[in-house]
Amino acid sequence: MSRKYLLLQNGGAVPMSDVPLLSGEEFLTEIVSGVDEGWRVVSYFGAREGAALKLYCLLSYKSEAALGVMSTLLTAPSFPSLVASVPQLHLFEREIGEQYGVSFEGHPWFKPVRFQHRLGNAPGADPEKPATIGVTDFYRVEGEEIHEVAVGPVHAGIIEPGHFRFQCFGEEVLHLEISLGYQHRGVESMTVGGPVGKTLKQMEAVAGDTTIGHTLAYAMNVEALSGARVPARAHAIRGIALELERLANHTGDLGAIAGDVGYLPTASFCGRIRGDFLNLSAEICGSRFGRGLVVPGGVNFDLESERVERIGSRLTAAGDDLANAVGLLWDTPSVMARLEGTGVVSEQTALDLGLVGPAARASGLNRDIRRDHPFGIYALSQLPVETARTGDVYARTLIRWLECEKSLEFIKEQLAQLPGADIRNPVGEAGANMLAVSLTEGWRGEICHVALTDGEGKFSRYKITDPSFHNWTGLAMALRDGQISDFPLCNKSFNLSYCGFDL
C-alpha cells in the first residue's frame, strides 16, 4: 500500500500545501488502483482555486483507520469519467459537473443532481443554463406492454419531496429512477466565509433528524482547525446523544416498516416509543432533536447525577417496551413473509455503489465509522458492528434492531461512568489555508464533512456528504425486478434523507 495520498486521521487537519497535487492522469490512476486495493471514496469534490478548479478526492482505508487525500488542478472544463471502473463515483462526478460546469467524458448517466445553481465555473466552462427542477432526460424502457409510473415531488404523507419514475412491465419494476433536488437550500454556499453564528444552526438542520451526527462532524472540523481539545465528559455526552438519535430513528423505522406490511401493533407501539427516546434527548438539552447540544469545544449541557439517574431509568423502560414491540415481528409469520426476500441488494452491488450505514451492513459490508475511524468516545468504548447477509428488507430491519440493542447498552455504560467535570473548552481561531476532515457514523451511516480555509481561517469551501448521497442508488437497485407495490416498504427500509442529499 504505497499510494500517493497524504494520510490523515479522522478529525485531523493538514496544511493545504501538504495535500499532494497530482497530474490529472496520476490522480485518476491513484483512484482506480486505490479502490482496487480496498480504499473507498468518501468524498470527491471541487473547489475554486484562483481561476482554476481544484478537485479533491478523499479515500478511506478502514483496516488501518487511514484517510487519504490528494488533489488535481483542472484547466479545462472536462475530465475523464471513472464511473465505468469505479461505479461509486457516479454521483460525485455528476455533482462536480453540476456545481462547476465540468463535463465528465464517458459518464453513462450525466444528469443534474439537484438542479442547483453553480458554485463557480471551471476554466472555460460554458455559461450556466438555467435548469428546471424535474426536467431531465429520464431513462425509458420502450415496449408495447411497458408503462411508466411517475410519483412526486409531493407525496401522500408528511414526507420530504422527491420524484420517482418507475419503468414497469405489469407489476414488475424494470427500472426506478430517483430525481431529487427539491429540498435544495444552498447550505454549502452559505458556509463560505464562515464560521459565523448561524453556521452551526445550519449544520443542525442539514438533515434535521441527524442533528447530532452532522453537528458532531462540524464541531470536530472546527476543533481540528483551531487545535481545540474536547473534555472527556463532553465526548461521553456527545456519544450518548448520538446513540439516542440512532435509537429514536431506528425505532421509528422499525415501526414504519411494521406499518407498511400492515402489522399495526408494532407500528403503533414504536411510534410512541420513538417519542420516549426523543424526549430523553430533550431531557439532556431541551430539544427532542438535540438542537443546541453539540458546540465546537464540547457540549452546552451537563448531566448532573439526578438527571443521569432519571435518563437511565427511563431508557431502561423504553428499551424494554421496544424489545417487546419488535419481538412481535420475528414471531409473526405474515410479517416475516413480507420482509424476507423483498428488495434485495447484493453484497457486490452494495460494494460497487459504495453504500454506507445499516443498508451496507445489511448487505454484508462490514463498515462502521465508529469502529473503522473511531472518533470521540468511540476511541475508548467500542460498539460491536452487526452485519447480515441477505441484503433484503428483513436484513435492514434486523440490523436496526441489533443496533438498537447495542446503543441501549452503550448509553447505559456511558451514563454509569461519566468522567471528569468540564464540558466545554474554549475554541480559538481556525488555522489559515488548512484542510480538515471529519467523519461520524450517523444513524443512516457515514457522514463526511471536509473544510477548506482561506488565508484568514475562514471557510473557502465546506463539503458535506450525507449518507443518503451514497445510498439513494441502493434503493433504486433494491426495486429492480421487484414489485412496484413493494416500493413503500423498500423505501422505509432505507429511510433516506432528501434534504441531506439536496443540502
Partner: protein
C-alpha cells in the same frame, strides 16, 4: 396472536390527556421567553449580537421575534444580566405574523379561534395536506408524531390526508425552496376553498437557520395567506397541538 395481545396489555394506554390535563415538559425545554428589560444596562446588545438569525431587537426596548427564533441557547448564554430566560411553556402559536414578536411585560397573544362561519365548517373536522418545501425533517417528524398513539390528533377530528382534494388546509414546512415553489402553489390551488394555510416551524415562517439564502423564499412571506404560525425549530408537538386546538376553539385559556 396471544403474544400480540399480551404485548398490548404490557404497552398499555399511552395517549396523553392534553388539553384536559397539562403535559409535563422537560425542565430544559426552551419555550416562551421571559424578558426582563429592567435588568438590561443602557445600550447593551449582547443578546442581539449573539442571536444567529437576528430575532432579537434592542433598539426600542427588548423584543424577540418568535417567528425567527430558533430557540437556541445562544442569547441566554451571552447575557450576564438575566435579561432573557426561556421558560418551558410550549404554547407559542399565533394567528398573525406580528403577534409573534414578544416584548417584555406585554400580554401573550396566543392564537385566536377561527370566525363562526369557519368554525362551523372546520371545528369538528379539519384535514391537512402537508407540503414539505425545504424542511429538514425536524418539523415533519414532530408533525408526524401527532398521529401516533401518544398524541392521537384523530380524537379532535384532525388528520393529515393524502390528496389536496380531500384537504381543508395546507400545512407548510421548510423555507420554500426555489425548487418546491411551484409544487407548493399548485397544491394550494388544488385544495378546495375555503381553505386555511398553516406555517409550521421557523423555516416556513421566516427562513429559519437558512434565512438569507438566495435558493429559497425565506419562508412563506406574502406567497400565501397564513392562518396559523407555529414557531420553533422544530416546534414541540405540544406547540403544534396547542395552536391547532386554539384555532378550533377547543382551548380558551
Amino acid at each position: 396472536m396471544i403474544k400480540a395481545i399480551l404485548a398490548r396489555i404490557k404497552q398499555g394506554h399511552r395517549t396523553m390527556r392534553y388539553p384536559k390535563e397539562p403535559l409535563p415538559l422537560p425542565d430544559r425545554l426552551r419555550g416562551f421567553p421571559e424578558l426582563n428589560r429592567p435588568s438590561c444596562p443602557p445600550n447593551c446588545r449582547l443578546c442581539a449580537d449573539a442571536c444567529p438569525v437576528g430575532a432579537i431587537d434592542c433598539s426600542a426596548g427588548l423584543s424577540v421575534d418568535l417567528g425567527k427564533c430558533l430557540f437556541c441557547p445562544d442569547c441566554v448564554d451571552a447575557c450576564p444580566h438575566g435579561g432573557i430566560k426561556y421558560t418551558n411553556d410550549a404554547r407559542l402559536a399565533a394567528n398573525r405574523r406580528e403577534d409573534l414578536v414578544v416584548k417584555g411585560g406585554e400580554e401573550r397573544r396566543l392564537a385566536q379561534a377561527l370566525d363562526a362561519k369557519m368554525l362551523k365548517l372546520f371545528g369538528r373536522s379539519l384535514k391537512f395536506r402537508s407540503v414539505v418545501a425545504g424542511g429538514c425533517n425536524g418539523c415533519e417528524a414532530d408533525t408526524n408524531v401527532l398521529a401516533t398513539v401518544g398524541w392521537d390528533i384523530g380524537r379532535f377530528g384532525l388528520q393529515f390526508v393524502a390528496s389536496p382534494r380531500h384537504a381543508d388546509a395546507l400545512w407548510v414546512t421548510g423555507p420554500v425552496t426555489a425548487n418546491m415553489r411551484e409544487a407548493l402553489l399548485l397544491t394550494y390551488e388544488a385544495i378546495p376553498a375555503p381553505k386555511l394555510v398553516i406555517a409550521c416551524g421557523a423555516c416556513a415562517i421566516n427562513g429559519g437557520p437558512f434565512i438569507g439564502s438566495p435558493e429559497h423564499n425565506d419562508g412563506l412571506g406574502d406567497l400565501l395567506p397564513v392562518d396559523l404560525y407555529i414557531p420553533g425549530c422544530p416546534p414541540h408537538p405540544l406547540t403544534i397541538l396547542d395552536g391547532l386546538l386554539r384555532l378550533l376553539d377547543r382551548i380558551d385559556k
